[in-house]
Every structure is written in C-alpha cells, then in structure tokens.
Subunit: 135 residues, 2 copies
DNA sequence: ACGTACATGAGAACCATTATCAGTTACCTC
DNA sequence: GAGGTAACTGATAATGGTTCTCATGTACGT
C-alpha cells in the first residue's frame, strides 16, 4: 500500500483492544493501566497486561487519551476531548472535570515571554475534593 | 536550636550528606537522584545510592528541595525557596526560574470553587526554550 | 479459504526507588 | 580525651510499574 508510511496503519479490531477502549469510554476519571487490567479480569475479560499497556500507548499516540503522572509515579489514563485543556481532579474519587480556560493559557505565555522563553507549553493540574466526596 | 522545633531532630553532619547538599546547592536546575549519585562518583566522592535517596528525601521533608516528576516518571529535585511557587523550565538545558504569581493561585481557586471542589491545591509547570538555548 | 503481517500474552528484563541489616561513626556525656 | 549509643551508611535484595521478547494466535485483504 502506501510506501514510506505516509499514513499510520489502521489498528486491527480485536476483542482485547475493544475491551480496553470500552472500559476507558465508560470510566469517568483517570485510571492506571494496572487497574484497567484488573477491572477487565474482574469482569471476566482476560486481556494480557502487556496488551493493556500497548493499547493504552496506542490510544495516547492517537490522541484518544490524556495521561497524568500520579504522585506514586504511575501513569494514569483518561478519555478526553482532543483540544487543549486542563484537569480538575477529585483526589478522593478521581472524578475529573475538563477545564477549558484561555485565561491560564495567556498567563503561561505571558510568564514565559517575560523571561525570554520561547516554544512554550505547560501543564496545569488542580486537585481537590468534589462536592459529593466532601459530604 | 530551632525555635518551635517540636520533634524535629537535628541531622548529623556527615561527609555524604554534605556532599549531596553541596551538589544540589551548586546545581541550577532539576536533577534526578541517579544523576546526583553518578555526578558525585565522577567527582571522586563515593556515596551509596541508598544514602543519596535518603538525603534527598530528608531535604524534601525539611522543605529544602522541591520535586517534580519527569515524563519518564523519575523524580527530579531542586533547591528552591520555601514559599509556594511554580517553575518555568528550559527543556534544553534545564535552567529553571521560580515563578511567584498570585494570579494563577486565585485562578486555580476560582476554577475549583466554580465546580464545588474544596481543599484545593494545584501544580503548574511551564516548559520552553530559554533565551540562551534559542540562539 | 489462504496467507501473512500484525496482535497477543506469559514471563523475563528493566529501571527507579525502597527496605534490610550488619558494620561505621558523629556527637553527647563524663 | 575516652566511651557509649543512636543515627548513619552502603551493599544488596526486594518491590512495583512498565517495557521487551518471542512463540503462538488471528484479523483482514485477496
């Protein structure tokens, strides 16, 4: 087909990949690869751990998932909208709100420019306890 | 003696602890524990890896160091001021500028409150290429 | 239905970090 | 200055998340 990999190949449709995608689609907050694996196992769906990692990595590469790094240094995944945004995460239940706010974007750019930095990106995470968990 | 030193023991003065502290004091950007260990070794100062980790952890606990988690999920350390701030990091040379700006603090609080989140903290990191590296 | 390139998975490898524990040493007391 | 002790050190093992290996399986174009 296309020589020199002009496009990326279409991933094959397997029950494992489907199971991981379905679980992520249904999960409201960030979740670790290990937990994806055990949740699938609990649901009677056997998927190898290596395969879980592979599927998640591919979904991240394809822009379907966002990642954050927990304090324990494990990577957490979540299905997110494609455009730039940040996260407001409940540290009790993991419920996550996407925050789209140009204010913080221009703040970051301003700070960087003030110090002569170019080619800027940034990462913002806000953590707290959501209304439901605070009760 | 530290005033209000309720329960804090004075760390013993050893050549290992001194070596780690000196290296961090002289280092301009964030650095990993592994790299601290190898830099000391290159300088002919033998310090066990476990001891490097211990010293760094104690310095973090004592508020002498800040940490961030790199994309590779390894923890990076840097000597920082004690009060709350964020970092502007050059992704080429690692040079870091501390950013003290109440604007982003109130932004984070406002976002959290708007969604009913309480007990909020946040993490902000801005990455770019500093003036020297952009040349 | 066939063939094959891509996908899978069990387990090994990897890597940063932490725990173990016997030997060392800074520092207080006399 | 000598001595005792609790803190410190470091070689090594253990841990835990993630990635690699490679033999086997399978989706999908033909």
């Amino acid at each position: 087909m296309s020589p020199a990999g002009a496009g990326r190949r279409t991933p094959r449709r397997t029950r494992q990949r489907q199971a991981v995608a379905d679980l992520l689609a249904a999960h409201p907050g960030f979740i670790s690869a290990q937990r994806v694996h055990s949740l699938l196992a609990e649901g009677g769906i056997e998927v190898g751990l290596a395969t879980v990692y592979r599927c998640l990595a591919q979904m991240v590469a394809g822009g379907e998932l966002d990642t954050i790094v927990a304090e324990s240094a494990e990577v957490l995944y979540r299905r997110c909208s494609a455009d730039h945004h940040h996260h407001l995460v409940c540290r009790r239940c993991g419920t996550t709100v996407e925050v789209h706010d140009p204010q913080v974007e221009s703040w970051a750019d301003g700070v960087a420019r003030a110090h002569g930095f170019a080619d800027v990106n940034h990462r913002v995470e806000v953590m707290g306890v959501c209304r439901a968990c605070a009760l």
